[in-house]
């Protein structure tokens, strides 16, 4: 790094506590002009709190914020924006029924002297902003009609329109496919060249090494350290993140033996108009079938169709040699197929319900005395899983919304483990959760396969797919572009297939 780099934003000795929790403890952090500063840490480490303070959403308890060397107090998100700080949240707050341009210029629309909005001027400016980041988006489109990846680009355009000097990306990769992420990286690089300071938050180590200039690691609200990327390696960073050595290939040591090829689930000629077609897949007992594909390739829709959440137009689902009529997830579960959905918060969990209630919901039938639910049985059942999966929760009655992402995902899995199911479909089982929990969940998936369950695992993380799967199906635009054995699969092949190019 250039030693002379000007510091745009600096926070010193920031402390923030919530009742019973010290979220940030004396944390220092600087962003220089023209650098990408990655912020890393497990969930609950204090990353979000830090950026909410920088973005003006939360107030700090003590400490200083310096902008261009001068001390400032951010009174509100709007105030921080006016001073040149833009936070691009993971869940982008949008008004889906307004156009792209109206979202960009919300409450700052260009007006004429008579204070009326000048629409043509607004759309012209929006067009120009979108062009500077080479986003192929019509400013007249309703924002809600755009895929998330493009909504993300609109937020970038909005940040540019705010003349933001510091732009904070909060885990953009959680919602982007690898191709989209590559485009975002290009944009970030050009923003960096213009001398803006970028803060990039991510769980994924590859990204940090690819895009970052420096990395700051937080753990339990404390600053672990700030390092220049070129000076550290993967192992060091992981150690900083989790505070202990983690063998990333721990999961790999559990060998999944495929002795007998007994098909558990067969999908034949499954088709849903405009979403996917001609899907033929077989998953064997004790096997992990990985499905890789870009967002929008139809992989999630395929999973939903298999369990009957959306009805396919044609096709057959055969479970252990018997043709199944699956018209709802209820049928699927009865027959022994379950899905752990991609979006766990909105589809997998009841956030306002307790850990106990979430875990027990599908298995309540076996937790009764005669007709009535037995709360002692329920508590026993739930606590067995909390112990077995090492779910970190203060007590069984804790609302699931207060758990970290990794523990929430464990709750989703716990829901299904107690039932005698045959096929498990995992859609992005480790998305958005911290390194330690990722590894635990991967090991759990492998163990399930060892027990003879058939596993379908959808993931956009190539190392995860390569590490866990026995075979890998790659989807592109609603079709299975290729089916690879683990031995023949490589990163390049997966990428090529997923973009529609059959490997040479």
């Amino acid at each position: 790094m250039n030693q002379q780099a000007t510091t745009l934003l600096e926070v010193r000795n920031i402390t923030k506590s919530y009742p019973g929790v010290l979220a940030l403890d004396n944390v220092d952090f600087q962003v220089n002009a023209g650098e990408v500063h990655c912020l890393a840490g497990e969930n609950g480490a204090g990353k979000s709190t830090l950026i909410e303070i920088i973005g003006g959403s939360y107030s700090k308890d003590s400490g200083k914020i310096l902008l261009h060397g001068k001390e400032v107090e951010f009174m509100s998100p709007r105030h921080a924006q006016e001073l040149g700080i833009a936070v691009l949240h993971q869940e982008i707050p949008i008004l889906p029924h307004l156009s792209v341009a109206e979202n960009i210029f919300l409450s700052r629309q260009p007006v004429s002297k008579t204070r009326f909005i000048r629409y043509s001027e607004m759309y012209r400016q929006a067009r120009r902003l979108l062009d500077t980041i080479q986003a192929d988006i019509d400013p007249h489109t309703l924002l809600g009609d755009l895929p998330i990846s493009k909504q993300q680009l609109v937020s970038v355009a909005k940040a540019l329109s705010l003349e933001a000097r510091v732009i904070i990306f909060d885990e953009p990769s959680a919602v982007l496919s690898s191709a989209e992420l590559k485009r975002l990286f290009d944009i970030i690089k050009s923003l960096k060249k213009e001398g803006r300071g970028i803060v990039y938050i991510s769980h994924r180590l590859e990204e940090i090494f690819e895009i970052g200039d420096r990395v700051t690691v937080l753990r339990n609200g404390k600053l672990v350290g700030t390092e220049a990327i070129e000076k550290i390696d993967r192992g060091t960073l992981i150690k900083m993140l989790v505070g202990r050595q983690i063998d990333e290939s721990a999961g790999a040591s559990i060998k999944v033996a495929q002795t007998k090829q007994v098909p558990a689930l067969e999908v034949r000629g499954l088709r849903r108009e405009g979403v996917f077609e001609d899907i033929n897949l077989t998953v064997y007992r004790g096997e992990i079938l990985g499905i890789y594909g870009l967002v929008g390739s139809g992989r999630t829709e395929l999973a939903r169709a298999i369990i009957g959440a959306d009805r396919p137009d044609t096709g057959e689902i055969i479970l252990e040699g018997e043709k199944m009529r699956i018209s709802s997830p209820r049928d699927a579960i009865r027959n022994g197929i379950c899905l752990s959905p991609e979006d766990r918060k909105s589809q997998g969990l009841f956030l306002e319900k307790s850990v106990q209630e979430n875990i027990c919901l599908p298995s309540l039938k076996s937790l009764r005395n005669m007709l009535f639910l037995s709360y002692s049985k329920i508590a026993k059942y739930a606590s067995a899983f909390v112990t077995r999966l090492r779910i970190a929760t203060p007590h069984l009655d804790q609302y699931v919304k207060y758990l970290s992402g990794g523990n929430q995902q464990k709750v989703v899995l716990a829901k299904w483990l107690g039932m005698d199911l045959k096929v498990f479909i995992f859609d992005e089982p480790t998305r958005g959760i911290d390194v330690g929990a990722k590894e635990e969940i991967r090991i759990l998936i492998k163990k399930l396969a060892q027990e003879g369950k058939a596993i379908v695992m959808i993931s956009s993380e190539i190392p995860e797919i390569l590490n866990l799967s026995n075979r890998i199906a790659v989807m592109h635009e609603g079709r299975i572009e290729g089916l690879l054995q683990r031995e023949e699969a490589t990163r390049e092949k997966l990428m090529a297939y997923s973009m529609g190019a059959k490997a040479q």
Binding site: V21, E352, F372, L373
Partner: protein
């Protein structure tokens, strides 16, 4: 640190309950000051009776609101059921003789058929909402107008006087010093609370109310639960209709105008969330009692019906604001 969290949780719970019950306590104090004899056994039993009618439809409404719905048709179904009861007991009305009782079939069967008709109307609400994909508000608004109209149509707009003794017992009967209808109401509360807390039906209902998509992916059929809650609501509206007719000794298409709003208010004051999935019958009792007591106070003070409505409106607003102080999602306050 852990203990601290527990303590805070404890304080929060105490605060919530207190702020709710405080409203009630204040009301009781005001009432006893304004009307000596308010807390006499006689008046308490009277109050208990008068709570019951609103109480029944509020039980049904609790089920509906737990499922994140709303049922505007309850008061109309209540009136319609009373009229049907009257007609079934004066079957001769169509042949010209009005005042003499002429049962279409024995009274217990009449009760069952009225309850079945009410349930059916609720079932239709559920079907329209789930199968035709109409929002709850619009579907039940339609039923509200339709059922009230039907009540007028089948009675020709007339009031049907005089019911038989069994029907009167439903509304006026006493078991010892306690009104029968109150016993019926309390039993309904107990049964419904057990259903909500100790059966899979109840648990699944809460799940569907909070997040229907997650419930569906967990193997629950939200459509079934939606139809079920509206049927339950229809059932309780019909039950209230029978008791109300018995109390008044008439089948009258004009009864209970606007009661759907009282029922909704009762449920929400109790703390059942409009967002669905949170709350319960026991909480609703509190709402019913608050509304009932306010009405009682106003009547005791001799305030005429129209200004009474005006004061009710103000008091309800206050009650909701007050009731929502402690909870974010628990009431009418925006999240």
């Amino acid at each position: 640190m852990k203990r601290e969290i527990w303590q805070r949780l404890g304080q929060r719970i105490v605060f919530l309950n207190l702020s709710r019950y405080l409203a009630l306590i204040i009301l009781f104090v005001i009432a006893s000051l304004l009307a000596p004899g308010f807390l006499s056994l006689q008046n308490v039993m009277n109050l208990l009776r008068s709570f019951s009618f609103l109480g029944f439809i509020s039980i049904g409404m609790t089920f509906v609101i737990l499922s994140a719905g709303i049922d505007l048709s309850v008061a109309s179904i209540l009136a319609f059921s009373g009229v049907v009861l009257g007609l079934f007991q004066h079957w001769g009305i169509y042949m010209g003789h009005v005042d003499k009782l002429s049962l279409i079939f024995p009274t217990p069967y009449i009760f069952f058929s009225v309850l079945a008709i009410g349930t059916l109307l609720g079932f239709v609400n559920g079907l329209v909402i789930t199968k035709l994909n109409i929002v709850d508000f619009a579907a039940t608004l339609g039923m509200m107008v339709f059922a009230r109209g039907l009540a007028f149509a089948i009675s020709g707009g007339r009031t049907i006087f005089n019911l038989d003794d069994l029907a009167l017992f439903m509304g006026r009967g006493m078991v010892g010093a306690i009104p029968f209808v109150a016993i019926l109401w309390v039993s309904a509360i107990v049964v419904c609370t057990v259903i909500l807390r100790y059966t899979i039906f109840g648990k699944n209902l809460y799940a569907c109310g909070e997040n229907p998509e997650a419930a569906r992916l967990s193997g629950i059929n939200p459509i079934f639960y939606k139809i079920a809650v509206y049927s339950i609501s229809g059932f309780f509206a019909a039950l209230a209709g029978i008791c109300m007719a018995g109390r008044l000794n008439l089948g009258e298409p004009r009864v209970a105008q606007g009661w759907e709003l009282d029922a909704i208010a009762a449920v929400v004051i109790g703390g059942t969330s409009f967002a669905g999935g949170k709350g319960g019958i026991v909480q609703t009792i509190l709402g019913v009692v608050i509304i009932g007591v306010i009405r009682n106070i106003l009547s005791v003070l001799g305030i005429l019906p129209d200004p009474q409505e005006m004061i009710m409106g103000l008091v309800l607003l206050l009650a909701v604001i007050f009731g929502s102080l402690g909870t974010r999602k628990g009431s009418l306050a925006h999240v």
